[in-house]
C-alpha cells in the first residue's frame, strides 16, 4: 500500500515538474497577413488573432487562426471573402500542426532559419507542407517567430470565378509573426 502511495506521489511530482520545466511557448496575439496581388487589384488582409504553440521538448509546432478575424479594409469584401471563398461558417479555422525538421539551437544572439513540416489546413482541405520559418529566443521566456509562405487557392478547393481573375490572386502570400511566451 505504501509503495502505491509513493508511486502516486511520484506521478504527481513528475507532472508538476514537467509543467514547471517544460519548454512550452504560446501566444494568442500573433499576426497573420495575406497579400493578394492580382493584375487589377492588390489588397492585404490582416489579423492579430493568430494562436500559436511551440513545445520545444516534444518538438511540436501548432498554430491556428479564426479566419473571421481577417480584415481587408472593406467590410463588404470581408463578408464576401468569408461567405463565398473561405466559407468560414463551415470552416472557421486555418491550422498548422507539425514539427521542426531540425530543431533550432535557440541561440539568443542569432535567429535560426529553419523548416517546419506538417499538415496545413484551410477551407477543410489538409495538405502536407514544408514551410520556412525564422525563430529566435529573445529572452529566457520569449520566442519570436516569423514565417512567409504561399498558399495556392486551388490547392485548397477555393475557386476563383473567371470574372474575378484579375481582382483576386490565385497565389496568396502569407506572412505570420509574433512573440511566443512561456
Amino acid at each position: 500500500m505504501k509503495r502505491v502511495f509513493q508511486l502516486i506521489i511520484i506521478c504527481f511530482i513528475t507532472t508538476l515538474a514537467e509543467d514547471a520545466f517544460a519548454q512550452v511557448y504560446k501566444t494568442e496575439k500573433g499576426k497573420a497577413e495575406f497579400l493578394s496581388k492580382a493584375p487589377l487589384n492588390e489588397f492585404v488582409g490582416t489579423s492579430s488573432n493568430l494562436n500559436g504553440l511551440i513545445d520545444v521538448d516534444k518538438n511540436l509546432v501548432d498554430f491556428f487562426i479564426d479566419l473571421n478575424t481577417l480584415k481587408t479594409g472593406i467590410s463588404l469584401r470581408d463578408k464576401h471573402m468569408r461567405e463565398n471563398y473561405l466559407e468560414t461558417k463551415k470552416y472557421p479555422f486555418s491550422e498548422f500542426t507539425g514539427k521542426f525538421k531540425t530543431l533550432p539551437k535557440f541561440d539568443q544572439k542569432n535567429h535560426d532559419e529553419v523548416f517546419v513540416v506538417g499538415v496545413f489546413k484551410i477551407h477543410g482541405v489538409e495538405k502536407q507542407v514544408e514551410i520556412p520559418a525564422s525563430v529566435q529566443k529573445t529572452s529566457s521566456n520569449e520566442l519570436a517567430f516569423e514565417s512567409k509562405f504561399v498558399i495556392k487557392l486551388s490547392d485548397y478547393k477555393i475557386a476563383i470565378p473567371k470574372v474575378v481573375f484579375y481582382e483576386l490572386a490565385e497565389e496568396q502570400e502569407v506572412t505570420i509573426s509574433g512573440v511566443l511566451k512561456k
Binding site: C11, N68, G73, S75, L76, K79, E83, E95
Partner: protein, 285 residues
C-alpha cells in the same frame, strides 16, 4: 484493483503532445450578407456599410421590351441612369447623394441601422430606417407659368426596412414606404397626381451558387390604383463588385419616383435594368 486504475489514469493524464484548443475569437456575431449589396434591384436594403466605406452605385433602366429586336429590347430608347455615392459616417449611419437622369433629380438620403440580425437569433431581424429629400432640376421655362418654385420641385421619401436571412439561400425584406411630393405637377415624369404615396416594398434574394442569387421585388401600392412595381433578376458578386441585372416594370430609380406609378404591364412592358455596386475604403484604419 481500483488503485491500479487510479495509477493508470494518473499515467495517462501526464502531459502528452498537446495541441491548442481551436476556439473562435468572437462567438456569434451579426449575420453577414442578408443581401449582396446596399441596393437590391431598385430598393435600398438593410446591408450596412462600415465607417469610412464609400458605396458607389450606377443604375440603369432602359426602354420597354415590346419594341423587340428592332429597338434592341429597349436599349435603343436610352436609359434612365442614377449615380449614387453613399458614405459610412459610422457603423450605424450612412449618408448618400444620388442623381437620376429622369427629371434631373438630385436626392440626399440617409440610412440608419437600428438593429442587426444575429447568428444566435437573439435578434431575429435587421431593422433599418431610410429618409430622403430630393429636388427635380429640369428646366420648365417653356411652361406658361414659367419654372416652378424650388419648394414645388421637392419631394421626400421614408422607408422602414425589416429583413431576415432565413437560410444561407433565402433572404426577405419588407419595406413599408412613403413618398411625398410637395406639388406633383403634371409635367413631372410621374404618373400619379396625389401628394402622398404609400406602398410596401418586398425584396427577396435566393442564392443559386456561391456568388450569385435570383432576386425579386414587388411594391404593391397602398393608397392608389396605379399598377404595382414588379422586378426580377440576378445578382452576381464578382470580387468587390456586385452586378445586378433585372427586368422591372418602372424606369424610376429613386425612392420617391419609384412609388409614384409609371409601371408597365409585366412581361412585354418590362424594362431591362442593370446596376453596378462597388465599395471603396477611404482613409486608413
Amino acid at each position: 484493483m481500483s488503485i491500479r486504475i487510479l495509477l493508470l489514469i494518473l499515467f495517462f493524464t501526464q502531459p502528452v503532445a498537446a495541441q491548442l484548443e481551436r476556439k473562435l475569437a468572437v462567438e456569434d456575431g451579426d449575420v453577414d450578407l442578408i443581401f449582396h449589396a446596399p441596393r437590391h434591384i431598385n430598393l435600398l436594403t438593410v446591408e450596412p456599410m462600415a465607417k469610412k466605406d464609400l458605396h458607389f452605385a450606377i443604375m440603369h433602366t432602359f426602354g420597354t421590351l415590346d419594341g423587340g429586336i428592332r429597338n434592341l429590347y429597349g436599349l435603343d430608347n436610352g436609359a434612365n441612369i442614377q449615380f449614387s455615392f453613399e458614405y459610412g459616417i459610422s457603423e450605424k449611419f450612412s449618408l448618400g447623394v444620388a442623381r437620376s437622369g429622369l427629371d434631373k433629380f438630385y436626392n440626399l438620403y440617409g440610412r440608419y441601422h437600428l438593429v442587426a440580425q444575429r447568428n444566435d437569433d437573439r435578434i431575429p431581424v435587421s431593422i433599418s430606417l431610410m429618409g430622403g429629400a430630393g429636388v427635380n432640376t429640369s428646366d420648365y421655362s417653356f411652361l406658361p407659368a414659367g419654372n416652378p418654385e424650388f419648394k414645388d420641385r421637392t419631394s421626400y421619401a421614408a422607408q422602414l426596412m425589416i429583413a431576415r436571412k432565413f437560410s444561407d439561400r433565402l433572404s426577405l425584406q419588407i419595406s413599408p414606404s412613403m413618398a411625398y411630393f410637395v406639388n406633383p405637377l403634371e409635367v413631372y415624369q410621374i404618373q400619379g397626381d396625389q401628394q402622398l404615396f404609400l406602398a410596401v416594398g418586398i425584396s427577396s434574394k435566393y442564392k443559386i451558387t456561391g456568388k450569385s442569387s435570383l432576386t425579386f421585388q414587388y411594391i404593391p401600392n397602398l393608397n392608389s390604383d396605379l399598377r404595382n412595381n414588379i422586378g426580377l433578376g440576378i445578382d452576381i458578386e464578382a470580387g468587390g463588385h456586385v452586378f445586378q441585372m433585372y427586368f422591372v416594370t418602372s424606369p424610376a430609380l429613386n425612392e420617391q419616383y419609384l412609388l409614384a406609378g409609371g409601371n408597365g404591364v409585366p412581361g412585354e412592358e418590362f424594362r431591362i435594368g442593370f446596376n453596378v455596386n462597388r465599395i471603396f475604403a477611404t482613409g486608413k484604419r
